[in-house]
Symmetry: D2
């Protein structure tokens, strides 16, 4: 009876092993029969596909690994399409990180200028995938963990009819931190949660159905990894922000720190990649390589498999997903994609209502959403003016003197990935 098929687009990624591992582990609850792999980088695809086959064999699994030769094959005849692409690779990421720093602006993969450039490269490719899904397999779900996942989900839901679940593991962080700090299980912890991808806040935390005490809350904060968000500040806010808020609440310090580093995160990863792929290519290795841990990230596969389980089974799950707002956050448009707790089951993904958003942060969420909507429109239309407006609307940028030359340089540096812009 195991007929569930899924495909992975961007399967040449080193993270593919994580999703395979999760699938094999959860085999009893999620009877996947076939995993189809697709990537435009055929060399990496082959390495990873071979690894996956070895892994599956080593774990006595009966899952079939197949290769899709083109996008149509990649999307058809499956129930779920995982997408984990990186348009322009870590080479372009490095430019996203470096160029803004020259202008005194944040250089970061998903937040600010760098994130916008990543969106410009990624959205046209994602829309191509979405249109293939619309055409060849309209009932399938795109399970996306390509960043910037919020902007990608907004573009796909606004400009196509494909169904998409925009994922991020960030919604689980307060659970992970509470588990560690309070010695409970994840399911014992719950909270309100509101915002956008990488611009979100958990609050009103409960343990086993009762409100977390002040002592517990402080303990959670002290045992968490918030990047550089000040614990003192979080205690005052009585909110748990996404670690990405470090780039907002400590903006000048973070820019200085990044400027002082000799290599960017992207460059570090480029270094690691050869090590990682060597490991995958080694036919004697059947397990996730150690180097992957240094790579960081991760956690997405847990969320992705939960979403697939919830939709496939008829079991309701509460999962934080990037979805159209649908009225949940009253001050944002109904079609704006937001990151909210959702009920996921075979019916689809429905956001829960959030009621009143905490008074400390609603304006910041609105400002960043405004940026995002302009950035998505710029990404789709290729309008330089709109790209300028997007950065003008971004609370961390906003400065026309800087925007003009910086954007020009960024667009130039990404030229080959931006056919929509007439440069």
């Amino acid at each position: 009876m195991e007929t569930l098929k899924i495909s992975i687009i961007g399967a040449g990624s080193g993270y593919t092993s994580e999703i395979i591992e999760e699938i094999v582990n959860q085999h009893e609850q999620l009877p996947i029969a076939e995993i189809k792999l697709y990537d435009i980088n055929s060399e990496r695809l082959e390495i990873i596909a071979n690894f996956c086959k070895r892994y599956i064999k080593a774990h006595n699994s009966s899952i079939t690994i197949t290769i899709a030769k083109n996008l149509q094959q990649a999307v058809e005849d499956v129930s779920f399409i995982d997408v984990q692409i990186r348009v322009g690779g870590n080479q372009q990421r490095t430019l996203d990180e470096k160029i803004p720093l020259k202008y005194g602006m944040l250089g970061q993969e998903t937040t600010g200028v760098g994130g916008m450039m990543k969106a410009f490269r990624t959205i046209p490719v994602m829309l191509e995938i979405a249109r293939a899904v619309e055409k060849y397999n309209p009932d399938a779900w795109i399970v996306n963990y390509t960043n910037p996942t919020g902007l990608v989900a907004e573009a796909v839901t606004k400009y196509s009819k494909a169904k998409i679940a925009g994922l991020c593991s960030g919604g689980l962080f307060p659970k992970w931190w509470s588990k560690k700090a309070l010695d409970v299980i994840e399911a014992d912890v719950d909270y309100n949660y509101v915002g956008l991808n990488h611009m979100n806040f958990a609050y009103n935390l409960t343990v086993k159905g009762r409100p977390m005490t002040d002592e517990e809350f402080d303990k959670v904060l002290e045992n968490s990894n918030h990047g550089d968000v000040s614990v003192e500040l979080m205690k005052k806010l009585r909110l748990i922000p996404s670690p990405y808020l470090q780039y907002f609440f400590h903006r000048s310090k973070k820019i200085k720190m990044l400027q002082e580093k000799t290599t960017t995160r992207g460059e570090d990863i480029l270094e690691l990649e050869s090590e990682i792929y060597s490991a995958y290519a080694d036919e004697s290795i059947n397990e996730k390589p150690e180097a992957l841990k240094k790579r960081g990230g991760g956690g997405y596969s847990e969320v992705a498999i939960n979403v697939i389980k919830a939709i496939y089974s008829n079991q309701p799950y509460k999962i934080i997903v990037n979805v159209p707002n649908n009225g949940s956050i009253s001050f944002l448009p109904k079609d704006a994609v937001v990151e909210l707790p959702c009920l996921v089951n075979s019916y689809g993904i429905t956001p829960l209502t959030v009621g009143t958003v905490p008074k400390q942060i609603w304006g910041l969420i609105a400002a960043v959403k405004n940026y995002e909507q302009l950035a998505v429109e710029a990404a789709v239309t290729g309008s330089v003016d709109l790209a300028e407006m997007a950065l003008l609307a971004h609370p961390l940028v906003g400065d026309y003197e800087i925007i003009k030359p910086m954007l020009k340089e960024m667009l130039e540096a990404n030229k080959q990935y931006l056919p929509q812009f007439k440069l």
Copy 2:
């Protein structure tokens, strides 16, 4: 480890056996150690308590049945407080049914004039219970299936801080009908659902995650029990209304039917009650009496136990509950109680967003909610003027010539149960 305790207020009701039966059946998932019974009718309470003890013994259950002597005892030291009271009993219900018919208006237990009078009698008592919960056991949940459950939940959430789940089995009807018509299991069926208690609509139905076909939808309608709602009309609406919509969409025919009946539903039940209590009092009987089936109703215990399981465990459930709107229905106030699909878990009860309400019925929902809000305010303040305004706002009444004398007679007939009105 079985430490969960619940209490039942109004435990003298014949329905108590249903909840006991459900608890015993579900014992493995819901380890209830003690059920505390409370009623102001001590004679019936004794009969039912004795029956419960026999039933539990006969089913080899270790649950303890205890008796609360006053409201404080009834609410303290338990996690859930089921409330199933009928203020004024079926005697007063009979008047709710009969008096409006004399004026050419619908005489019915929960809809229209009769429902408002039931609310007037019930709300002060419910608020007394809610205040006892606030005082003696603020963490406990009231699980209410006292009608009119929507108005009761609105009164309790607006005028107290007690936690309340306002239940009705109506949200399950489209599942039940689909199961029967399409030969699937309940969990295979899902839908959007919007409205108020007894004024609600299911739409966009799915089977196993895919949209129901027109043929399947029609089959469901033809196999359902919608009272007298026309199947032809439902096909045109492409919605499944609550059976109570028969009193709206077929208003004159229904009034005529009720006027032609020789006895009202309340009178029929008064007849049945002696038979039912005789059965309960018979010490040789350990099972739910047959007469209870004739009594009708039922189904509440399934919803009630699901709510308790969801809150007690950390398993998320999707359950249709009467809760404050919280922004889900954009054209209703945030604090208006509405009947919506909710995610229920130990965190509490959070309504899902509904997005755009079908164009055929949003105005009707608004009109009835307006009536409900005025009725609740009248019930709490005892203002005759507000009671008149409430009926003026009700789409089935609205006629000042009739409202004045009819309301006067109704208030007079309920005088002893309406201390809040200075009559």
Copy 3:
């Protein structure tokens, strides 16, 4: 410098003399040079045009009266296009009044079933005019007093880009009544005002900038002409409803009264018409005929000329107009046409915010607006199903048993005016 030109569509109406009279009176503030007349009834058009010329001469006015030969001529080369048509004439109106009464339903020109049929006949013709304006004179304003003015304005704003001011004199009634009762001038009186055409309410009345006292308010009610709306009821509501609310708040009494009349209002007017046109045709008569007073109505010309003055001059006016809601009434769609106080000047017509709508009546307004939106969609698409849904949504109808045969008979009786319906 007198270059302002206006045209009147439906100029064969007996009311044309009123607008001419108002224009002549206000000549100093509103320098109209030419009035173009158009009607499909050429006989009546000639009678009225000749009368207008005599009237203008008798009043020493230099305004030129011209005749448009077709719709293009009627709409081009003018700044304002007054529209006052009656599709099907008073003959069809009589059927709108009579048929519903046979089914125990209200028979009335603008409210309920009759109003919907009038909308079905009128909207296609109004859209034809609007499209001519879009094509030949997109900067011109349509100044409409064709009923049902709210539905007409909703259809024109939703289905064309023509600019339209949907007028009714009803917004002035509380001023007129206060003036009479309190012996003040109209400009001394002001109020909040909310709702739809013929479904609206004035409240928070002020005299000379201070709140009206209870005594004054009661005096206003007692000196008003509210049809049969109970003064006692209005005192309780602390609102001044449109007189058309008599058909809601006193529904059964009003139907009985109409059923007992031997002739309908439409029939009475048909009688009067020959008298009125004889008077207009009499070359010795240069003044508005006495018979017109018996015809009733009137007052529109004051509102129409105020709107034209406000748009033409740069003087801001506060005028109650039927316009897209634009967020003023939070529980109605932004594009729903509502009747609200607006600021009118050369910039256009902008509704004022209304804030919280009185708790007594928001649901009724929502219910009627829902009916209106379905009725407009039915009028444009010619869908019988939508027409049934519209009546099902109407608080005064709502009864499927009655809707089906009544609608069938109404559509049949209007067949020649309803090309959009495939009957």
Copy 4:
């Protein structure tokens, strides 16, 4: 018949002469009989009062100038209370300008950190005035041009029942610039306008009722005085921002410019003040001193007198005022004070609906409003934590590392004016 009385609080200000001048000029439309002057600086009050008397005599006016001895006298027995206070004077303003610059932050009178400190000093005094009005003269209107006028109006409307018109001349700027550029009169120009005080935007400009052409729009921009807002940027935005947007759109450049100046604006004015008051004290001078022009500002008296005329007469005016939102801007709370076009007459001040806010700037408006609401709450409660949250929410600040020491220094420097803060 000249019975209108007004009072001026903060009458020792050099601007008092402007309002007197305007009143004398407009005497025919606005028959003011008495102007009552009040100030806590009795020396300046005497100088100004004497000047006013000389001025009135020189212009053959019969207005009586009187002196109020305390707040009660200042507010009672008048119809309008103009308030133009500067708590802490230009001495404290200088600190508002200087301290933030030390931290690399904008030092400015109303925008950013400086504006918040001004609000902290001003709001308690304004609430004292508002409470005196509530007590001694609840029907009177406060006509406020004390900055930050938006925060002041929000505090007064939220924390008192006094009626307040929060004024700024900024709403007239696009009229003034269009007049100059296009050689038309002010009344020929109109526009949509949305936002907050000093954070607002005009768009959809019309001349004589028709849309402004691109050429005209560009001409208006080129002839305006926008501080340093780039004309090129405004052309791209197709919006006319408040000149204060220079501090947002050109943030780093403006801070650099201010840091490079040897004296702040406040210091320049302190210099000018002695010159101005010497002039006023000179008994031979009966006209506004020349030095006042160098002082800048101005224009408020035109708006103030228009508001008074509109409320006093029954003539409707369209005036841009800071008022509670009332639903006009859908993404802001109903009680948030916003700067919007309003209809002003004796009924009061009602904002017009604005519909959809331009996509370029809604997020920025939301972010600044969020800051404002937190700042007002901090000003009233004296909470340092809330003050930190307010600056964290401000798009120009947001940096916790800087906020903490900077706020500490600012609070310390204003200690004597901040009794509400326990420092």
